[in-house]
Amino acid sequence: MTTDETQLRQELERTWAVPRGIIGWFSIVDHRTIGRRYLVTAFVFFGIAGLLAAAMRVQLAWPDSRFMGPDRYNQVFTVHGTAMMFLFAVPVMEGMGVYLVPLMIGTRNIAFPRLNTFSYFVYLFGGITLFAALATNTGPDVGWFSYVPLAGPDYSPGKRADFWAQLITFTEVAALAVAVELVATIFKTRAPGMSLNRIPLFVWSMLVMSFMIIFAMPAVVTSSSFLLLDRLVGTHFYNPAEGGDTLLWQHLFWFFGHPEVYIIFVPALGMVSAIITAFTSRPIFGYTAMVLALVATGFIGFGLWVHHMFATGLPQLGLTYFTAASMIISIPSGVQIFCWIASLWRGRPRFETPLLFALGFIAIFVLGGLSGVTLASVPFDLQVHDTYYVVAHFHYVLLGGAVFPLIGGIYFWFPKITGRMMDDRIGRWSFWTLFIGFNVTFFPMHFLGLMGMPRRVYTYPATMGWGMLNLISSIGAIALVAGGVLLVYNVVRSAAWGVEAGDNPWGADSLEWGTSSPPPVYNFLHIPVVEGRHALWARSEDAPIVTGIRSDTREVLITDVMDAEPSNKADYPNPTIWPFVTAVVTSAFFVGSIFTPWALPVSLPPLTVALVGWFWPKRSDLHTGEERPPALSEARA
């Protein structure tokens, strides 16, 4: 390394340094730290929600069980679903995106770094609020989608449903913030040369996910706000007697709820593409088709929501249309599966743990997709609606379609995040335990549903004949817990004592593998100029780099949307406590508004103070005196 580079590195380390100390911990605006926090927090919530599921399986293992009473069981299954969908599935994908996307596209930080920090703390406080409610017997008990009138003031006394509705607000504010950041990052801060047709498939999946969040989340925030207003202030949004409509809830919720599952699923598709690319050492077959499939999934996903409402007495034309749309969405997913199979067929895959999870995803998700297509047919759905057949379907698509790729992604990117490899032997054990345990747990549920076992029942009589399958399912759950424990053990052990990983232990193709493991605080010493779709594989000997960006302030290169031509430079903020303060005030406002409408006027002054602190211009933001460097040039590295 030349003296110039040493000096550059020292300067960048100073400029992009992560603050220390307690105040510093709350002030960090660095995407890698926030991304790690998202991942750790999401997995903690995953663990708690998983324990709730284990409790459910204990309760259901034999007939007429009194392990849990009905009220406790209602809270457990509701919080299990709510925490998994809102506190784990979406945030963990966002966390992977927040960490990886700036590295994959060759920039130093995510766009809107302070908003990123704010979003994490809002998410964290939302999760704490929900579990505090569960611990104080105030856990929501109306199902994860909280239908009215059950969740309305007449049939849900107390504050349980209000905690649910505000959890929505917490998590949707955080998700919207991250979505906006990701879109801005992906569109405007890519390294030069990384035109849109050269971005990795994982980045495409994050882009599609972010747009879906932006269009879908407002619907659920609207619906939960209407519910809160109905309960707290006496509005009649969902009261048919006064001109409201109970079906309004279902439409608003499912207009979000169906895209939500694709929001969870699409990033997992990106992860699978990244893993298969790395472990076959070949480009994915059919990049254009894969991108179009992702975008098509995103679009069609907005046209399906009424398939959750087939049993509500809709007009025939609506049923027909939504059946057709629900079947059509399997086509882009099918295209992707075939492209991956083609990639594996042509390459010589190295069957290491991440690839095992990607293959497990293909197997399980295809089964889940098949049961989904059967559910798309209205006559069949009317028979199995609200039975365990549906439970089996969505666990196959969610666990198979999102969690397996996610775990594969953890094994894949763990070396990059921590600098150490995870143990491959324990990895295989965890894969097989999870795979077998998953199928033993959830496959019998298809039959239970066909035999008529309804969802959400806290127990069932022995005469129904459901005992044996439920027992098998609960035994499978033991294996699932064991697999989860193995995974956690592997993570903890490897973080402390794992084999040190180099920059690119898998020989992968995307830019994040072109910097050290873990990456330095400034991500890349030199912002690269990308020469091909697979940035590292296409990089030539004397690959160009970007110069002319200041290293004494947090300056970042902004490029064009389509072709990533350099266009201007932007200043990113230094660490600051104000996003955390704003998150605290916002969370206090949300929690207060569960109990009283006075929370709004009371919160506005401190919120104003917090936002003024956030946006107050700093002396260092002003460039006085010295000239800015001339237009940047492409020097050779």
């Binding site: 307690i22 911990w25 926090r37 750790v40 927090t41 903690v44 009473g69 009905p70 009220d71 703390f121 964290l124 406080f125 704490i128 505090a132 409610a133 611990a135 104080t136 017997n137 105030t138 009138p149 309305g152 003031p153 007449d154 049939y155 006394p157 107390g158 504050k159 349980r160 109905d230 309960r231 707290l232 202030v233 006496g234 509005t235 009649h236 009261n239 048919p240 007697a241 006064e242 109990f595 009283t596």
Partner: protein
């Protein structure tokens, strides 16, 4: 995350103390429908009288579910036939501050079980004790004599006036017969 957790503990304590009573759903503790005992009432209450010993308190005093059940039973047992939804009609208003026979829960229990002069029937043997206590809790909630977080909101019917959780709490006054 642990640092954030520490800050939440004081708030959680407040929640715990309030929430346990408000949110309980004692489904399993309710005895099946039993008629009221025909033995004399446990308290010697009459209009203007002095209670001897501590009078019984409704177990649903601050319980949101109990108040909600009381609201359901209020229509189911046709209390609204004479009292409307608190505004009164044939019977006196229940949502104002005037309590002819006192507003202590035991007074209201007596009113329902024993009946009162001038038209209030006795429901002894017709409404189980547990449901009477739920009705007591609901009647008290009609003018805000319950924690606001436990009060019911607007009902899923034609609007019958301000929902209970939006009514101002009134100071009850024992008036005796006018």
């Amino acid at each position: 995350m642990s640092r954030c957790g520490l800050r939440i503990v004081p708030c959680a304590l407040c929640l715990v103390l309030a929430a346990c009573g408000r949110e309980a759903r004692p489904f399993d503790n309710i005895p099946s429908a039993t008629a009221n005992a025909t033995t004399p009432a446990l308290v010697q209450l009459y209009a203007g009288g002095v209670p001897t010993g501590p009078p019984p308190v409704s177990p649903f005093q601050q319980n949101a579910w109990g108040i909600s059940e009381g609201k359901r039973l209020f229509d189911a047992y046709n209390c609204s036939g004479c009292h409307a939804h608190g505004g009164g009609g044939i019977g006196p208003a229940l949502m104002d501050d005037a309590w002819i026979y006192g507003n202590h829960p035991a007074n209201i229990f007596e009113t329902i079980v024993e009946g009162r002069p001038n038209g209030m029937p006795s429901f002894r043997g017709k409404i189980p004790d547990t449901q009477v206590w739920q009705l007591v809790a609901f009647v008290q909630s009609m003018n805000g004599q319950a924690p606001i977080a436990a009060l019911p909101g607007r009902s899923d019917h034609l609007s019958g006036g301000t929902p209970e959780n939006l009514r101002p709490a009134v100071k009850p006054v024992q008036t005796g017969h006018q």
